[in-house]
């Protein structure tokens, strides 16, 4: 029988200290493995590495997929693959406070390919005493109730699946009351009896008793293993609901859209500085100065508010930072997480309307000329290209957000490179304003400058997305 998870010759460093050395480990169907040991011994590192969340110094990690083949998840050469459907509860809850309880559970079931309906979701929530709060936001829950939801979210993908799945739980009983701990033990044994495999890191003796295998990490003696026998559980778990299409990427899009719709901090934090810049231009620069400054200045002023809106850090990054929410999504989505996040996190709506608003404000200064009427019909073109600048900026912010203390790094220093796409768009707009739109590809044609601006942005995006995962 193939294991659910296989770890071979794993070495992991923290700084220059070797945390895990030459670890070989397999998780089989129907077993609960408890990782125990003192703080800093490497329990969480091993558990998270199993989900491909850490760079490894040597070795490889593979998971069995639903077609019963072992697939690489991560190796020391930088190769990565996405995880098959699984359950994951991190030490922090990995949930955004904006989500409702019901949304959280449906998202978890959608990304793990479980069929669900509202009755099933209510039934699951009811087991954990959360059904009456299902429409509330997670931020309104107490710490203990939020932990119940996080643990349920880790267990639900296996409970709802007929096929054996792996579950990873990091200190699941932390913050749970006595009744919830007992429920957790019952669910763990019942899931093992149904053939699912569980790895959990814990300090809780009650949870350790539920394990078939206890791996104790000790600095001096290494890893020692103790086995325990358990009878088959007859605890009554909710019935599996069957499989549905796995929708990881669309779930991420929907999740990000819902969060922004509920609390539009991204739109507001981009819109306000842009509009302020525009109003300041309107207030401080008079008609005479605009006329004297010439078309370069006018074009730059038209595009500047839009440019400001795209380089502002995406709210998605602060949402990801909340309770390690981004790490949970990163583990679930796998290697394509950065690519899609850079698109989702970028400013899609604002650049184009901002360009038109700026145009209306600036032309009000008296730069109206009869031949400028045609310009407004081509303003959408730099607006569209500004979207490529937006995804490049978003990718740069994401690159910086890989650092553990995101707020302690000045991402704006890396955004300097986006000055050139902006300058080239300004040039293109100047050409359109001076000579009208033309469709040639020489350097004196607006299309070539627009194409160059687009290419530079896309190159910056590609480097920032693919280099870190290479």
């Amino acid at each position: 029988m193939l294991p659910l998870i296989q770890i071979s010759d794993l070495d992991i460093h923290r700084g220059n200290r070797l945390i895990i050395s030459e670890m070989n480990f397999e998780l089989f169907e129907g077993e609960v493995v408890a990782l125990v040991g003192s703080n800093g011994c490497g329990k969480t590192t091993l558990l998270e590495s199993s989900a491909g969340m850490h760079a490894i110094s040597s070795g490889l990690i593979s998971w069995r997929n639903e077609g019963f083949e072992m697939k690489l998840v991560r190796d020391s050469e930088g190769r990565r693959g996405s995880l098959p459907p699984m359950g994951l509860t991190l030490q922090k809850n990995g949930m955004s406070g904006e989500e409702t309880i019901e949304e959280r559970l449906t998202t978890v079931l959608a990304v793990s390919g479980c069929h669900y309906d509202s009755t099933k979701v209510s039934q699951l929530l009811n087991y954990w005493g959360l059904e009456h709060r299902k429409s509330d936001r997670i931020s309104q829950l107490s710490g203990g109730l939020a932990r119940r939801l996080a643990v349920l979210s880790g267990l639900a993908p296996a409970v709802m699946s007929e096929k054996p799945r792996a579950i990873l739980l990091d200190e699941p009983s932390e913050g749970l009351d006595e009744s919830a701990r007992e429920l957790l033990v019952d669910w763990l044994r019942a899931l093992a009896s149904k053939g699912h495999g569980v790895i959990l890191a814990t300090h809780d003796p009650q949870i350790m008793l539920a394990a078939d295998r206890i791996m104790e990490f000790d600095e001096k003696r290494g890893v020692s293993v103790k086995k325990q026998k358990h009878p088959l559980s007859n605890f009554d778990l909710p019935k599996p609901s069957g499989n549905a299409k796995i929708s990881k990427i669309s779930s991420l899009f929907h999740w990000a859209y819902r969060m922004e719709k509920r609390n539009p901090i991204d739109t507001i934090s981009r819109f306000i500085p842009s509009i302020l810049a525009l109003l300041l231009i309107h207030t401080l620069i008079n008609e005479d100065e605009i006329s004297v400054a010439g078309p370069d200045f006018v074009a730059a002023m038209i595009l500047l508010p839009s440019f400001i809106s795209v380089v502002i850090p995406p709210a998605l990054i602060s949402r990801y930072a909340e309770e390690n929410c981004g790490r949970w999504w990163g583990a679930v989505i796998g290697p394509k997480f950065r690519t899609f996040s850079s698109i989702i996190g970028s400013s899609i709506i604002l650049p184009l309307p901002l360009i038109y608003i700026s145009w209306l404000v600036i032309t009000d200064f008296g730069v109206q000329r009869e031949d400028l009427g045609a310009v407004s019909s081509w303003l959408w073109l730099p607006g569209i290209v500004m979207f490529s600048v937006a995804i490049a900026a978003s990718a740069l912010h994401l690159l910086v957000s890989d650092l553990r203390r995101v707020g302690a790094s000045a991402a704006s220093l890396l955004l300097l490179v986006l000055v050139w796409p902006f300058l080239e768009l300004v040039d293109a707009l100047v050409m359109i304003m001076n000579d009208g739109m033309s469709f040639g590809f020489s350097l004196d044609e607006p299309l070539s400058m627009i194409f160059l601006s687009f290419s530079v942005s896309i190159l910056v995006w590609a480097i920032s997305v693919y280099l870190p995962d290479s």
Binding site: R17, E219, R404, E424, L443, V456
Partner: protein, 239 residues
């Protein structure tokens, strides 16, 4: 013992280099001849050349150290690669800032504008200095770990990957907006006295850089050893 003697060499070279750098400034004011106006718009300001050019050449070497360190860590995860990366970043920032501060001062006096978006060298140095500033600030603010090192070395490589992109974007921009010219003159080459001062400056900056590299490298080695000892102490206390 090796560390102690290296420390002495480091200090000695830093002092010699520092003295040479000061000597260059003094010679630039007293020994080097004045240039003509025209073609120079602001002849007094040209003396900044004696620091600006050595700053640029030395920062280029520091950026190379950073690049070698980044690629060594990125591919092999060698500890010396990381130490080289940190050393290159610190010195790249120091000398890069010298370039991007002295350049605009000279540019303002000579061209009337502090920055030229069509000047490839200026833009490349500006960009690489910004990347090293980011790396130095982040390295100091982030907890050390394999993930942090991976991300920062990636950003180091990212900075270098941007150089060709900047080159293309800048050269196209320059074709539309011809770059400002320092001075138009039929004369070619530098006055021999100017060349002497400039060469003293360049060698002094190089010696200073070698001295600072040794000291910075040793400081990072000591920091690494101290961290190891702290971790051993943690293990003693916790386990």
């Amino acid at each position: 013992m090796f560390m102690v003697s290296m420390k002495h060499y480091g200090w000695a070279l830093t002092c010699i280099g520092g003295a040479g750098v000061l000597l260059t400034a003094v010679m630039g004011y007293t020994y080097a001849p004045m240039v003509q106006s025209p073609p120079f718009r602001s002849p007094e300001a040209y003396r900044i050349l004696f620091w600006h050019v050595p700053f640029a050449w030395t920062s280029f070497i520091a950026f190379c150290l950073l690049f070698i360190g980044a690629i060594t860590w990125f591919l092999k995860r060698e500890e010396w690669g990381w130490v080289l990366f940190c050393t290159g970043a610190d010195l790249g920032l120091l000398f890069g800032l010298g370039v991007v501060i002295s350049g605009p001062i000279w540019g303002s006096a000579e061209w009337g504008v502090p920055w030229d978006w069509g000047d490839l060298r200026l833009n490349t140095f500006g960009l690489l200095t910004a990347v090293t500033l980011f790396i130095v600030l982040s390295r100091r603010s982030q907890p050390d770990g394999i993930d942090t090192r991976d991300t920062l070395s990636t950003i180091g490589l990212f900075g270098f990957a941007l150089v060709p992109i900047t080159a293309i974007a800048t050269s196209v921009y320059q074709k539309r907006h011809p770059s400002v010219v320092i001075a138009q003159s039929d004369e070619t080459g530098l006055d021999p006295k100017m060349l002497e001062v400039l060469m003293i400056g360049i060698f002094s900056f190089w010696i200073l850089m070698v001295g600072l590299s040794i000291l910075t490298f040793l400081a990072y080695k000591l920091e690494s050893e101290l961290n190891n000892l702290l971790q051993l102490l943690d293990d003693e206390v916790v386990h």
